[in-house]
Symmetry: C2
């Protein structure tokens, strides 16, 4: 039997969740090594030797080495599967939304959520910087809401990595102070994504 | 003759430069439409109909439509070329470094440079937020410097999209208040990248 992949991860992480959702959907087994990022466990010399950027998720592939960055990992795991469109124009748009997620969703909605959950500061103490993250989070959601008009999924009218990546932080946006009431298209899409085979909640190992 | 691609771009943009470098290297002709992002030209209703995210670079493909996000565009343009490794593990690492660039280089070095050039504020006026961007820019460069130890290029020991994407903002890091003196490996690599066929300076149309 092949030695399975090892995933270094922190269960509350939306970035880690993207990898877990992809692996579960594709029935790819993995061994989970939990790293508490709030206690500096990814900044030890031992971990930095695995990933010089000191972050999770990190995939260890037996006999090959390590792969970092959630979207690179899910692109690797899903290669040749139904989660990546075979048409090059559709696949380019899948990457467009992965890039959009990483630049406009995660650093705003994901960071606001991280601050509120793990910084041990209140919204009032976080002040203007939190307000700015929340405002930019809403700007990103408005773009996604417009994109979903008349569509079931983000790209090629089917469930792809773009849906997995965007779902990861958008479904927990309220935990970052970004409520979803104003986005009926997004809320209906969240329900569709959660009904996909292999779906699991964010903190499930 | 085929109608060429149209690239909506702002010449000082490192993100646009990634696309221009890729197209030039691969001898892909394109028609350039310059948008002055400092005057809101990408936020008009007409432009938002092309890209609801209101940003450059944006690629228009005749008969297909629009593609946004620099890394999605260069992935599309370079498909099947020597700029993307054919080995899946190497290709995954190319995407790892594209993601790293987008999360750790562009928002720090690129933003610091944009602020200093286009915000009409001095470093003193930008204050702590600029200092933070510069510090995070140095953190990102330290990761790249370590990765380049004993290597000529970032991935698979050859020139790929990872080099193009990282070059775009790193070679102008000093314009963002991030000097490169402490990174001899990066400086040697910048020289190698600039010697590649099809290379052109950042503001060349």
């Amino acid at each position: 039997m092949k030695t399975p992949y090892t995933l270094y991860d922190f269960l509350p992480s939306g970035n880690g969740y993207k990898v877990r959702l992809t692996a579960k959907r594709l029935a790819i087994p993995y061994r989970l090594v939990q790293m508490d990022i709030t206690r500096g466990e990814t900044r030890t010399p031992e971990y930095l030797a695995k990933n010089s950027n000191g972050r999770i998720p990190l995939l260890e592939v037996p006999g090959r080495g390590y792969l970092a960055e959630s979207h690179a990992i899910i692109g690797f795991l899903a290669e040749g599967s139904e989660l990546i469109p075979t048409d090059s124009w559709a696949r380019a748009h899948m990457w467009q939304w992965l890039c959009f997620e990483q630049y406009h969703v995660e650093p705003n909605i994901g960071t606001a959520r991280f601050w509120l959950h793990h910084s041990h500061k209140t919204a009032a103490e976080l002040g203007e910087r939190l307000t700015e993250k929340i405002a930019k989070g809403h700007e990103a959601l408005a773009v996604v809401e417009r994109e979903l008009e008349g569509k079931s999924y983000m790209v090629a009218d089917r469930f792809t990595l773009a849906d997995i990546a965007l779902y990861a932080y958008i479904h927990v946006a309220p935990e970052g102070g970004v409520p979803l009431e104003a986005y009926p298209g997004i809320r209906a899409w969240l329900t569709r994504v959660a009904a996909q085979p292999g779906h699991a909640p964010i903190t499930e190992a």
